[in-house]
Symmetry: C2
């Protein structure tokens, strides 16, 4: 297998990206092609020892950054690491593409360069949602589609379910639909229609899931539109961060508290680790015709390494093809074939 | 002033409701009328000492519970404590109505019995959103209107702003619109249109607020549709509860941790208290023609007392009338008068 990595994507590129690639290479025999400014990447690579035959640098002088307007950036920065990387994936020169760059541009690039999986109306950005003590659930959509139709939500469920099964080995993943009540009659017109479609599908649909239950990991795949998904992700992030800051302040007020906090240091650290998204690897952009993985923009080398290692079963398991077949089968059922 | 209290609403009714009323009565000179099953309420009242001239029991034999379908319950249970209480408010026999009963029924009852404030298209359920170390923000809508039009969101902002000013004494409350990005161009069609309306209004509109910022208390009034509002509230509730359970488990593993936790006990308790919604009183149902306050179904006597005390400025400050005038003025501006 050949893994293509965006060497210039993210806040710590290319240093941490290159370091992460080197670390990952020691655990796999696959090839890693790093796309980006050759000179900069080479300078980083020289810091490490590794099997040279596993690596190749593909020069790309331009960089799409987070300030770039996604669609425009993809259309004009033809020689950016992201566009060059996606084209390598498209041409079959590589099996998967990993980037920590501008999420919107990666989505737009995926759509323009790779195209959609036939039958998928709207690709989705996903995100692992950490569940304390229990791993993660997959949130689909995490923000690409602020407005959705019922079939979009059904497709998010199908794609997420296949991903969790093939990449995380979850058997018959439980798929839940975020709603403001457990009853079928609850929610918006779109949600109600999506509920009926999901209920009739072959998914292991567990029904409506209230946001209250999401942190408990009641389902493996959390389906919602991008507005709600983005709200869930960002609220969790903001709430946890704010709470940690508050706890830190409170737990260091006075000697008694400081001693107490010292005795609990390992537990507090363990608690913080529960929110470390990076151990679950990156997040696939589901619905584009190719294995595209987004890693967090702030990824360090370990996150890059995890992103690469977790991405391998996504490509080797032919998840994109399986999604295409599943959607095709779905359409056949709908047409009564 | 005369305060009408639903004696039968909530999980701990009538015992905690009556106790809360008695506790509140010691801090105010206003009359409290408790509506519900006279015998049961009298039995509870007899447990306490209080100024008899402040109290009156209005008998109502029926009870609307949480399993009742809201609209049907309001239409058929004419002699329920909720319907009788709302009718007393409507007739002018009382100045405000407080209930810990079925939220949907209270909303439906408010609409059918009191009607909407002229110019308000859709009344909203509100909720205090606790901000660690900083009090609370008011969330509008907390779940009554899953689907909204732009003008609904504008009206939520106006009503919330007036409430925070008159009841909590916040000068020029900062009003934020929940969105998936800070830029004006972000979000759904409805959100984009609402943004423009709010920007042009006389509100102290701080623009889009990402869910990440909500727990930091970046605005006094958090405006969103009921689907998003309900998601924010329930996710916060579920996340905090799950985290406390996890922390409790972790902090009691092993002797060292137990000692540490003991030393931090007061800080942990203080942290939990930050999430005690009840100290902020109840939540007004904004947009109905009368001062209706919902208190949490699980309210204990203290929460009932706080609900009553906080509700007084809502009625005495003529907030409902001020909202009516503000909406009227808004319409005049729109008509160019």
């Amino acid at each position: 297998m050949r893994i293509i990595v965006d060497g210039m994507g993210g806040d710590n590129a290319p240093a941490e990206i290159v370091k992460g690639c080197v670390e990952a290479s020691k655990e796999i025999s696959d090839e890693i092609w790093i796309v980006g400014r050759e000179e900069e990447i080479l300078k980083e690579l020289k810091k490490y020892k590794f099997d040279q035959s596993q690596f190749k640098i593909i020069n790309a002088e331009e960089v799409i950054d987070n300030c770039d307007a996604p669609v425009k950036a993809v259309r004009t920065k033809k020689n950016s690491s992201m566009v060059v990387g996606l084209n390598l994936l498209k041409s079959g020169s590589g099996d998967l593409f990993i980037s920590g760059g501008n999420t919107g541009a990666l989505m737009a690039g995926g759509l323009f360069i790779l195209g959609r999986i036939p039958g998928i109306d709207r690709p989705a950005i996903t995100s692992p949602y950490p569940i304390m003590g229990k791993g993660m659930s997959l949130l689909v959509d995490a923000g690409a589609n602020a407005e959705c139709k019922p079939n979009n939500l059904l497709e998010f469920g199908i794609m997420g379910s296949i991903y969790m099964e093939k990449v995380f080995g979850v058997e018959r993943p439980a798929v839940g639909l975020v709603n403001i009540g457990a009853e079928e009659s609850k929610g918006t017109t779109v949600i109600k229609a999506a509920h009926q479609m999901m209920k009739k599908s072959s998914l292991n649909f567990v029904g409506n899931v209230e946001a209250r239950e999401v942190p408990y990991g009641v389902c493996d795949v959390i389906v919602c539109d991008g507005f709600v998904g983005n709200t869930i992700l960002k609220l969790t992030e903001g709430f946890a961060l704010n709470m940690f800051q508050f706890v830190k302040k409170k737990f260091t007020e006075g000697l008694k508290s400081k001693v107490g906090a010292m005795l609990l240091l390992d537990k507090i650290k363990a608690l913080k680790d529960e929110f470390d998204y990076s151990s679950y690897g990156g997040a696939p952009i589901l619905g584009v015709k190719g294995a595209v993985i987004k890693i967090h923009g702030s990824s360090n080398a370990t996150a890059v390494k995890n992103g690469i290692l977790r991405a391998i079963p996504y490509a080797s398991g032919h998840v994109v093809q399986i999604i295409e077949d599943a959607v095709l089968a779905l359409e056949e059922v709908e047409r009564g074939e």
